[in-house]
């Protein structure tokens, strides 16, 4: 009788486990399914608009025809501009925090501030960019102001990934270098950075992925439409994500703009995915290489 009861309980336990596990598996598939639905939808709808002309021509007929060339170019400029600003400073900050600063309240404070900066909503960066770069420093609605705003946004990403990369370098490397008479700076330049640079580059690529998709911070800085390519850093540029927003929500003829909007979405998503996938591939490639050594 007791054996029978035990068996019954056992079976009940098994059944609830099977149910729970089955549910979790299904939900996980569902989440991945969402990704594929979004990607699949954009690819299917956008594919027909894609052509060589689409990425090399200017918008025409009130954005109902033509391509998106200036927006792609503008986004590339913004990426370069923001990276020039944030990459060196971010790497320097990480080197300071990991190699120079004494562990204590100061480093904890800096780390907390970095986390806070990372948590600030992107639209607040937009307000700040307008206030400091556009109005106070009089850069105007320019490539420079947009790059600086976006650079600030990506600083925490670069600092964090660089710090992780530096932390991963075993202390025995540093000690070995000191033992050979090298100074701290020499050790960092010749030993620590060469070992950690693949991971630092991965962080850089991830931050580029972030910059290329951000819209809110540069909403008030980038152009709705420009008639010529930027010739200096004080010129206004178009940006791909903002262009998609404009095509999707405003303009003279939204229905006629739809195919171009789908195409723009596809180009943007391809750009971001290629950037992120290459960061992943790089990380995997180098971690395999380290294992082999």
């Amino acid at each position: 009788m007791t054996i029978h009861l035990e068996k019954k309980i056992e079976r009940k336990k098994r059944r609830s486990e099977q149910f729970a596990f089955g549910l979790f598996r299904a939900l996980s598939l569902f989440v991945v399914g969402i990704l594929f639905v979004i990607l699949g939808f954009i690819v299917m709808k956008g594919f027909s608009s894609l052509s060589w002309g689409f990425i090399t021509q200017w918008p025409s007929d009130n954005m109902t025809k033509g391509g998106i060339f200036p927006a792609i170019l503008g986004t590339c400029y913004l990426i370069i501009g923001s990276v020039i600003f944030s990459f060196p400073i971010g790497v320097f900050a990480a080197i300071y925090m990991n190699e120079y600063a004494k562990k204590g309240p100061l480093v904890r404070f800096i780390r907390m501030m970095t986390n806070n900066l990372a948590g600030i909503p992107s639209i607040v960066f937009g307000l700040f960019g307008i206030s400091l770069f556009v109005n106070t420093l009089k850069f105007g609605d320019s490539l420079l102001a947009g790059s600086l705003t976006l650079g600030l946004l990506t600083l925490p990403v670069i600092i964090r990934t660089t710090e992780e990369a530096l932390k991963a370098v075993d202390n025995s490397f540093r000690h070995g270098s000191y033992a050979l008479g090298a100074t701290k700076l020499q050790t960092i330049r010749r030993v620590v950075l060469p070992i950690s640079y693949p991971n630092i580059i991965t962080g850089l690529i991830l931050s580029i992925g972030r910059v290329s998709g951000e819209t809110a911070p540069i909403l008030f800085i980038v152009a709705y439409f420009t008639t010529k390519l930027p010739t200096s850093i004080y010129d206004q540029v178009m940006a791909l994500p903002y262009h998609l927003y404009v095509l999707a929500t405003s303009g003279t003829d939204i229905e006629k703009q739809r195919p171009i909007a789908y195409g723009t979405a596809l180009v943007l998503i391809m750009m971001v995915l290629i950037i992120n996938l290459s960061a992943n591939a790089l990380r995997r490639y180098f971690s395999n290489k380290v294992k082999m050594n």
Partner: protein, 400 residues
């Protein structure tokens, strides 16, 4: 000797540069606070009346100041008697500039309105219940009435006001309560969707899936977080919004629900990654002890793993809310942006970030609307700061 000196100097110099860079994020946060408050601060020391316009009443009117909300009430004709707002009993007569021809003939006003000043003065004197809304330049010298200044915007009005009409006539209404509530509604809706789903996936990845499946799924979920928010917004606009409209038979599909669903999807990767990391820190010995006592894997998960990692799961939930509160583009595109108090998930709402994004481009720099948007930015900043500190607190507790 000299070479060594320069080398040392160089090292010190580099160290200085690195130290300065170390402070950059702290500096950035401080600058953001300073500039947001600098731009927004003036809001509370001015009135919402349109620039260059003035309100005037009869000399016998006992009121010396008037609240912004009451001005709106009078001109919307919800307030029709001075008694309702603390004056004496007298019905209110509204006179705008365009109403003047009903009181005066063209000849009296003059061909080019050159006699408008005395006319206005006479009218104000003759009607005891009058409230006049005219340009400042018409009430200069010899005006036989009383200019009624509007009270400055107060904190209470700003945070508790239920009306957000930044460009209304005669005065703007800056009540941000509907915006705050809209933001919270959409964010909590998002977390209601994302938390159960995210936890299920985190449990599956951390405890159930074998390593091959896990290695395949994790990068895919990371990709989900890499998709730009404007793409989510676009997808929501062309797929989700029409779907909601037809399923619930609504006049418009741009609703809080659409915002919550899109934000929920966007918060998923954050929640999954953090919750999974927390679950994976459960000591193997604890899990094995549970299994050795005869518990099934499922029992081990909900009796051991989840209680052990609860602070990490909490941190994941809070961070997810933080992401949702600050998200701009996707929400701007799918929630319909109606600045009214939210009552159901099936009506359009307006969030703080979407308000800033939609209106900053149209508001002249330094104007009252512009300042109000910067104060909204401050509010948003403080909200997310509190959330970040909350996460920090929860995860510092975990370490102890």
């Amino acid at each position: 000797m000299n070479k060594k000196f320069f080398k040392k100097l160089f090292e010190k110099l580099i160290e200085g540069v690195l130290t300065l860079s170390g402070g950059i994020t702290s500096l950035a946060v401080i600058l953001i606070v300073v500039f947001l408050f600098k731009e927004g601060f003036g809001l509370f020391s001015r009135s919402t009346l349109q620039d260059d316009m003035v309100l005037a009443v009869n000399k016998s009117n006992p009121l010396s100041k008037i609240k912004a909300a009451n001005v709106m009430g009078i001109f919307d004709q919800n307030i029709t008697n001075w008694k309702q707002i603390g004056g004496k009993k007298d019905s209110i007569i509204i006179v705008r500039l365009e109403d003047l021809p009903t009181y005066f003939t063209e000849a009296q006003l003059g061909k080019n309105f050159e006699n408008i000043n005395p006319c206005i003065s006479r009218l104000t004197d003759s009607l005891s219940g009058v409230i006049l809304f005219v340009p400042k330049k018409y009430v200069t010298k010899g005006f036989n009435g009383k200019i009624l200044p509007e009270e400055n915007i107060s904190f209470v009005e700003f945070f508790m006001g239920k009306k957000w009409f930044p460009t209304a006539v005669p005065n703007s209404q800056f009540g941000i309560l509907p915006l705050i509530l809209g933001t919270l509604w959409v964010s909590f809706g998002a977390i209601l969707i994302a938390l159960p789903l995210g936890l299920a996936v985190a449990i599956y990845l951390a405890e159930i899936a074998d390593s091959r499946v896990r290695r395949a799924l994790k990068p895919l979920i990371e990709l989900l977080s890499g998709i730009p928010s404007v793409i989510y917004g676009f997808f929501g606009l062309v797929v989700l919004v029409p779907l909601i409209q037809s399923v619930f038979k609504l006049p418009v599909g741009e609703t809080a629900l659409a915002g919550s669903i899109i934000l929920g999807i966007m918060a998923l990767p954050t929640i999954i990654t953090i919750a999974e990391d927390a679950m994976r820190t459960t000591p193997r010995a604890m899990k094995e002890a549970s299994l050795a006592l005869g518990a099934t894997r499922w029992q081990t998960i909900y009796r051991i793993v989840i209680p052990y990692s609860i602070s990490g799961i909490t941190a994941a939930a809070i961070l997810g809310i933080g992401r949702a509160i600050g998200e701009t583009m996707a929400v701007l595109m799918v929630t319909g942006n109606a600045g009214v108090m939210p009552h159901t998930f099936l009506q359009p709402v307006r969030t703080i970030p979407a308000t800033i994004a939609a209106e900053l481009g149209e508001s002249p720099q330094g104007g009252i609307h512009y300042q109000a948007l910067f104060v909204l930015g401050c509010v948003l900043f403080v909200m997310t700061l509190l959330i970040n500190l909350g996460v920090e607190y929860v995860s510092s507790k975990r370490k102890n």
